[in-house]
């Protein structure tokens, strides 16, 4: 018997897609029954109240959560989002209902042992409701009271060897695609780099010293499976410098429509018949730079014109492989629309090696030069992308010591409004108007 009637939410139980309502109801019931004999540290009926408050929102068409208060764990400036219900009388179980962001393991692999240790902790000290995972990447523990924050943190650090993630004007929890752990397209080990930098910059992650949030994301190839180019202030995207490797026998198999060589590795195996694979139509003509052609039975690529878009490789993964001289490109400034409109990441470093042996020095150097600049010049709540827009891409090149290259632009400026500097102009800017007027009367 539910504590609150939920006629609206009940209608979200039908249909094939897993119902969050059904799950919440099952959780409410498990807590009510408490067969495991948990000594719940927050109200046992918090999930019932959560259902109740969401039902009320469905009735009103408005949220019933108040503006977050500043709560957290001692010494950290992030990792906790304070949250209070605006109808605490009706839903006392969720009067305080803070979330905790738990740093996820890179690549998001888990053992059941570890997951169970998390659920056990969260059943005891929280609502038992989570997000697997938050949009940034964290494991989200959704809903607990203020006194439990330090307890959860203590248990995480002492018993689970596990830290909190980021929030506030900090480095946010970095996130990655699974990379070389299970993907043949990976140009670098995204799990390793993501983990290294996460640890290297724990201080920046936990102690707010930035003008605003800052995000790292790691895609091990241009397919972009963690969408870094759209949602990280610094996006690390794998690429290569040398040639795509071609296995001509495998090319022949694709052309022959060999069963074991399905187009795009089987991504089109579905209810629709696209007809036999046609290398011209599906690969060569779709290459954005038109740098591929057949020479007899041989597939040729003019690699100097290839932009490594991945299309041909994706389409014929058994025949084409990424090059061997691998590294990553760094793009900067991506962000959501608040305040000045969304930005994609802009290419800052076309290619840098990924070298764990020197602790990725080439990469950390760039990161730190950017942070120095942003911390010096960034206004309150100004994302890196906005600072770059405000002070100019040139300034970014200056502070990172990177030379301008045509790779930096999609196209050169369409306006001639160049801000020359005094030392670039012969004779400097100081002039003598009296001398000038000798030649040019008023």
């Amino acid at each position: 018997m539910a504590k609150h009637e939920t006629p609206f939410l009940d209608q979200l139980e039908s249909g094939p897609w897993p119902s969050f309502v059904s799950d919440l109801k099952q959780q409410a019931e498990v807590r009510a029954k408490n067969e495991a004999g948990v000594e719940f540290q927050i109200p046992v009926d918090c999930v019932e109240d959560l259902l109740g408050v969401v039902e009320l929102s469905y009735k009103h068409g408005r949220t019933h959560w108040k503006h977050g208060g500043i709560v957290g764990v001692f010494g950290y400036g992030g990792g906790v989002i304070g949250r209070y219900c605006d109808q605490p009388k009706l839903f006392p179980g969720v009067e305080h209902f803070h979330t905790m962001r738990v740093a996820q393991p890179c690549g998001k692999y888990y053992t059941t042992d570890y997951l169970r240790s998390l659920t056990k902790l969260w059943d005891l000290r929280g609502s038992g409701i989570t997000n697997m995972h938050g949009a940034t990447g964290d494991i989200i523990f959704l809903g607990t009271t203020t006194p439990q924050l330090e307890e959860v943190f203590y248990e995480l650090t002492h018993n689970l060897n596990q830290d909190l993630g980021g929030s506030g004007s900090n480095l946010r929890t970095p996130a990655d695609c699974l990379g070389s752990s299970r993907c043949e397209y990976a140009c670098y080990d995204s799990n390793a780099l993501c983990h290294f930098l996460t640890n290297e910059y724990q201080d920046e992650l936990h102690r707010p010293a930035f003008p605003y949030k800052f995000k790292f994301k790691f895609d091990a190839c241009p397919n972009g499976c963690v969408a870094s180019i759209a949602r990280s202030d610094m996006s690390f995207i794998g690429t290569w410098k040398d040639d795509i490797k071609i296995d001509q026998d495998a090319v022949a198999k694709y052309i022959a429509n060999d069963e074991a060589y399905p187009a795009n590795a089987g991504a089109f195996r579905g209810s629709r018949d696209w007809g036999p694979f046609d290398i011209n139509k599906e690969v060569i003509n779709l290459c954005p730079t038109k740098c591929m052609w057949m020479e007899g039975d041989e597939l040729k690529i003019d690699n100097s014109n290839c932009t490594r878009c991945m299309h041909c490789i994706n389409t014929m993964p058994r025949a084409l492989k990424i090059g061997d001289e691998r590294g990553l490109s760094i793009l900067v400034g991506a962000k959501a629309p608040i305040l000045d409109g969304a930005q994609m990441g802009s290419l800052l470093v076309p290619f840098v090696e990924v070298n764990p042996d020197d602790d990725y020095a080439a990469i950390t150097e760039i990161i730190e030069s950017i942070w120095d600049w942003w911390m010096e010049e960034g206004k309150n709540r100004e994302r890196l992308g906005e600072l770059i827009m405000r002070q100019g891409f040139q300034k970014l090149l200056e502070v990172t010591g990177i030379e301008a290259q045509p790779q930096h632009v999609a196209y050169p400026r369409t306006n001639p409004y160049i801000f020359w500097k005094e030392d670039e102009v012969e004779g400097g800017w100081e002039r003598d108007v009296v001398e000038y007027r000798k030649h040019h009367l008023r």
Binding site: P16, Q26, Q41, R83, G107, Y109, G128, D163, S181, P337
Partner: protein
């Protein structure tokens, strides 16, 4: 319920304190085959929707069964996931970047039992617990945000709109009939906690009424200069206001015509709430992408300026999404993402074939770059 101490001593918070240890190291959690073959994968194949095999140079194979689900997830549900992983996968599993779950086994014969187990599990309400799918040229899980479950600024719900949409698109979650992958995302306010600005289809919660001003409390709860400077359109000015009881308080004044309902002021000041039953609702965007495949990443475009919040299943919204997916499926070339298709046929044709209305709201008027989106050519279709 008795308080159980973790060992933490509030009087001595620094005692034995452990900080800055970061996340657990990824390789603790890798399945054996992954550990052994990392960095040495030869190729992969999608055997059927939701089922992949990756083949290593060593010849080792790993089979992955991907299942969808609500990422709002109870510990009960997680425990059930663990149970499955223990039974079939030596206690390993992973989550994808779009909140699907991947169960991996190291040989082909383990796949069918795993699939059958997954298919058999349903919630009491009748929905699947672990629907298999989400790969290749289909629809995968919707990346989304908090909504009415937890956030203070949403203009709509996240979990509910997502459930309604995924029910609508369920066949495409389990199929690979589309011209390319189609990514749907959801964010419940303009903060856009997700990549909805770059998704094939995006659902966005949106306010349409300027903030109410809770004059009586504003100065007590908010720092007025912060609220003033938060507004991107400079719609907010400090003001002195006389309350009904005659007391004069410091507060702010909002120039309503300048407001674009972004909610930034409310982020800085709880005395400026925007939420409203009629004012709030849904914006639909389309045509974004993030991969660099063939074409550059691109932003989503606003294609439906507003749909009201129709709880609990948002039928107008799912209908519009349905129309877009169908028109795309019928019209696009193989490998062509939704935005590339719309660019190719022209947005005037997009609205025609998707049967969506074009209204003046869809013309950009934000900041100077707006004019780059106007048609600066005589090339158009009637």
């Amino acid at each position: 319920m008795a308080f159980i101490s973790s060992g933490y001593n509030p009087d001595k918070p620094m005692e034995n304190r452990i900080t800055d240890i970061g996340p657990r190291k990824y390789d603790e959690f890798y399945p054996e085959v992954i550990k052994k073959n990392k960095g040495k994968w030869s190729h992969h194949e999608i055997l059927e929707p939701g089922v992949l095999v990756h083949v290593a140079e060593s010849g080792d194979e790993i089979y992955t069964v991907r299942v969808g689900g609500a990422r709002l997830m109870s510990t009960t549900h997680i425990n059930e996931i663990c149970e499955i992983a223990d039974k079939h996968c030596d206690g390993h599993l992973r989550f994808t970047t779009r909140n699907n779950i991947e169960f991996m086994v190291d040989s082909k014969d383990k796949v069918e039992p795993l699939k059958n187990d997954l298919k058999s599990r349903k919630f009491a309400g009748g929905s699947f617990k672990f629907p298999i799918g989400g790969t290749g040229a289909g629809v995968t899980n919707i990346v989304h945000t908090q909504g009415w479950i937890h956030c203070h600024t949403p203009a709509t719900d996240a979990s509910g709109t997502v459930k309604a949409t995924m029910d609508e698109l369920f066949a495409d979650f389990q199929d690979q009939r589309l011209p390319a992958q189609l990514r749907v995302s959801m964010a419940c306010c303009l903060n856009m906690c997700g990549a909805v600005h770059c998704s094939d289809i995006a659902i966005l919660g949106y306010h349409r009424k300027p903030p109410m001003i809770d004059h009586e409390y504003l100065d007590k709860l908010c720092e007025i200069p912060l609220a003033v400077s938060a507004c991107p359109t400079a719609a907010i000015k400090p003001a002195k206001v006389t309350l009904e009881d005659g007391t004069e308080v410091k507060s702010v004044d909002v120039k309503n015509e300048r407001c674009m309902f972004c909610g930034n002021c409310y982020t800085m000041c709880p005395s400026l709430p925007l939420a409203d039953t009629e004012g709030d609702g849904i914006v639909l965007m389309a045509g974004g992408k993030v991969s660099n495949r063939i074409s550059d990443p691109k932003f989503s475009k606003v294609v439906v300026a507003f749909l009201p919040n129709e709880m609990p299943r948002w039928p107008s919204m799912t209908d519009a999404i349905h129309k877009m997916v169908n028109a795309y499926s019928n019209g696009a070339n193989k490998y062509e993402r939704l935005g590339d298709w719309a660019d190719r046929i022209g947005w005037e044709k997009f609205f025609e074939v998707c049967e969506l209305d074009f209204t003046h709201h869809l013309i950009d008027d934000f900041r100077q770059q707006a004019y780059m989106s106007w048609r600066q050519s005589t090339q158009f279709k009637f």
